[in-house]
C-alpha cells in the first residue's frame, strides 16, 4: 500500500494547490471590491474618529478619545442622543404592533386583501422627502387640515405640530410609524402565510374556540422568528431616522428634534468637522451592531424551535 500511496501523493498535493489557487482567483473580484468599497472606508472612518480632521485643515492630528470626551460633554449631542432614544422608543413598538394588527386583520378579511396591502405599503415605496411636503401641509398650524378638524371639534388652540418643542418629536414619531408600519405589515403577512393551516385546524379540533386563544397557542409562537426580524429591522430603521428631520424641522425648534444622524450630518457637512462626525458615526455603528448581536446571539435561540 505504502509505495503506491507515496508515489501518488505529489500529484494529488499539486492538484489540491491548483484547486486552492483557482478558488482564490475566482473570489478575487468579490474580495477586492469588498476591501475597496466596504472594509477600507469603514476603517478610514473609524480611524478618522480619533483625529481632529476638519475639511481644509491639513494634516489632521491624532487626538485619541478627545472626540468622544467632547461628545460626552456636549449638551447638544446628549440632547440628540436622548431624542433618538425617545423616537426609537415610540416608533419601534408602535409600528411593530400596528404592522402585526394590520396583517392579522387583512389575513382574516375575506375581501380586498390586495387593496389594503397596497394602501398600507404605499408609504414604504414612496419617497419620504416628497411625502414630507404633504405632511408639512397636513400638520401646518394654520392652514393644515388636521388643525382645521381639531378646531371644528372645539379645540381652541391646537398645537403647532412641527414648530413646538413639546410636540415636534411626537409628530415626527407619528410620521415614522406611518412610514414603517406598512413594511412591518408585509413582513408579518409573509410570516402568517408560512404558518401551516394544519396547525390552526389542529388547534380548533383540540378545543381552541376564540381567535384570541388561537393567536396565543399557534399564531404568536409561530410568528416568533418573523417578530424577531421585524423588531430588529424596525429598531435599526428607527435609529437611522434622518430625512423627515432634515426636511421638516432641521433639528429644531431649539434642538428639540435633533437626532443622531442629523447631528452627524450637520457636524460633518455644515461645520465640516469630519473627525467629530466620524466619532458620532462610530457611536451609531456600535448601537446598530449591538442590536444585531442581541438578535443573533440571544433571541434567535428562543424563537426557532429547531
Amino acid at each position: 500500500m505504502s509505495e503506491a500511496a507515496l508515489a501518488a501523493a505529489p500529484p494529488r498535493a499539486r492538484r489540491r494547490l491548483g484547486e486552492a489557487l483557482g478558488g482564490w482567483l475566482l473570489s478575487l473580484p468579490a474580495a477586492l471590491s469588498f476591501l475597496l468599497l466596504l472594509l477600507l472606508p469603514t476603517l478610514a472612518a473609524v480611524a478618522m474618529a480619533f483625529t481632529d480632521f476638519e475639511l481644509g485643515l491639513w494634516p489632521p492630528a491624532w487626538i485619541g478619545l478627545e472626540n468622544f470626551r467632547e461628545m460626552w460633554e456636549d449638551r447638544g449631542f446628549r440632547q440628540s442622543f436622548r431624542n433618538t432614544v425617545v423616537y426609537v422608543g415610540l416608533v419601534a413598538p408602535a409600528s411593530v404592533l400596528l404592522g402585526l394588527g394590520l396583517a392579522l386583520l387583512i389575513e382574516a378579511g375575506a375581501r380586498g386583501r390586495a387593496l389594503f396591502r397596497a394602501v398600507f405599503f404605499l408609504p414604504v415605496v414612496s419617497l419620504t422627502v416628497a411625502m414630507a411636503a404633504a405632511w408639512q401641509y397636513l400638520l401646518h398650524p394654520t392652514i393644515g387640515p388636521l388643525n382645521a378638524a381639531l378646531r371644528n371639534f372645539g379645540v381652541a388652540a391646537p398645537p403647532a405640530w412641527l414648530s413646538s418643542s413639546d410636540w415636534v418629536l411626537l409628530s415626527l414619531s407619528a410620521i415614522g410609524v406611518w412610514e414603517q408600519a406598512g413594511f412591518n405589515m408585509v413582513l408579518f403577512m409573509a410570516g402568517l402565510t408560512a404558518i401551516p393551516r394544519e396547525l390552526r385546524e389542529a388547534a380548533s379540533v383540540d378545543g381552541v374556540h376564540s381567535a384570541f386563544e388561537r393567536f396565543r397557542l399557534v399564531t404568536w409562537p409561530l410568528l416568533g422568528p418573523t417578530t424577531l426580524f421585524v423588531v430588529t429591522i424596525t429598531l435599526i430603521r428607527s435609529v437611522r431616522v434622518f430625512d423627515t428631520v432634515a426636511v421638516l424641522t432641521r433639528g429644531g425648534p431649539n434642538k428639540a428634534s435633533e437626532v443622531l444622524l442629523y447631528t452627524m450630518y450637520t457636524e460633518g457637512f455644515t461645520f465640516l468637522r469630519l473627525g467629530y462626525s466620524a466619532a458620532i458615526t462610530l457611536v451609531f455603528l456600535v448601537i446598530v451592531l449591538a442590536l444585531m448581536l442581541v438578535q443573533t446571539r440571544l433571541l434567535d435561540r428562543r424563537v426557532h424551535y429547531g
Binding site: E201, A202, V205, D206, G207, V208, H209, P221, L222, Y305
Partner: protein, 375 residues
Amino acid sequence: MRAPDSGLLVEEAAVTLGGTPILRGVSLRVEPGEFVALLGPSGCGKTTLMRVVAGLQAPAAGRVLINGRDVTRAHPAERDVAMVFQNYALYPHLTVRQNIAVPLAMRRLNGWQRAPLLGRLFSRAERAAIAREVAAIAAPLGLSSLLERKPAQLSGGQRQRVALARAVVRRPAVFLLDEPLSNLDAALRVSTRREIVEIHRRAGAASVYVTHDQAEALTMADRIAVMQAGEILQIGSPEAIYRDPADLRVASFIGSPRINLLPAAAGEDGVLRLDGAPLPLRTPARGPVTLAVRPEDWRIAPAGLAARVAHVEFLGDHELIHLDAAGTEIVMRAEPELRVAREEALHLSFDPARALLFGADGRRLPVAEREAAHV
C-alpha cells in the same frame, strides 16, 4: 344492544368547492368502538368527508350527528372529535408533555388559569390531574422518556405517537385519522398499524381512518368504505370488499396485483363465452360482460384458456406470472415451485366459484356454475 343514537352518523353530506362537486351526498354510520377505513385514490373526497366530520369543512347539504346530536353547524371544538393530521400538526414550541395536554387544558382550564405564570397558582389541582392523564397516555406509547423534548427533537415515528396521544387523551367520541402513516418509512408503517388499532380499541371511539393504501385498510379496518369521485361505492368488511365487490371499480381498486378483467359475452342461452369458447358459467344477463378473476384463482390446466408466458416475477414466498392470452394481459399468482419458462405456451383455468361478473355499466351480475362443468 347499543343505543341507536351513539357513534357517528353522516347523512347525505355534499360539498362543492369552486363549482366542482367533491362529495355527492355521502352517508356513513360508524358505531362506537368500530374502525372504518375510507379508502380511495387521491382526490376521491375521502379527506373532505373527514373534514366535514371534524367541522373543518362546512357541507353544502346533509347532516353530521355525533352521539345523536346534530353538529353540522357546530365548531370543531364543540363536536367531541379528535383528529390525527397527515403531517402530525404538533405545536413546535411546546414540549411533548405540553402538546398532549393541550386538548385537556383547553377544555378544563379557563382563560385565567391558562395565563402564563400566574395561571399556575389558580389551577394546581386541575394541572396535577392533567399531568396524571398525560403520563397515563404516554406510558403505553413509549413516550414517557420523551416528555420534555420538543417535536423537532423527535423521529417521525415518535412524532406520530405524540399526535396519537394528543388525539386520544381526551377520550373523544369520534377519532379521525388522516393518512397518519403516509410520512413513515415502510417498515415503521407496518408496525404502527397494529399500534393504531390497539389505541383505537383502548379508546373505544368511533374511528374513521382515511387512507389510499389498501393494505392498511384491509389489515386494520372492521369495515371499509371504498370511495371514488365523491361517492362511497361500497361499505363492507375487508373480506366482503375483496371477495364480493358490488362494482367493477371496487373490484379493480382492491387487490394487488390488480384483478384480471376479461371481455366475455353471454349468449342467448345465458352461457358465458370467452373468445367464443363456452365457460362453465351461466348468467341471467345477455350481451357483452366483463369477467373478473383474481390472480390467485388461476390454475395451469391441461386444457382451457390458451396463454403464453410473458414475464415471471419471483417474490420469495410466491411468484407472479404475467401471461398474454390473445391480447389480454393476465397476471397469475403461483407457488414458487412452479417453474415456467418465458414464451412457454400453456392453458389456464380458474375456480368458477370465485369468478366475478360485471355488466357493461360496471354493476355486479349474478353468475352460477353450469351443470356438467368442464373447461
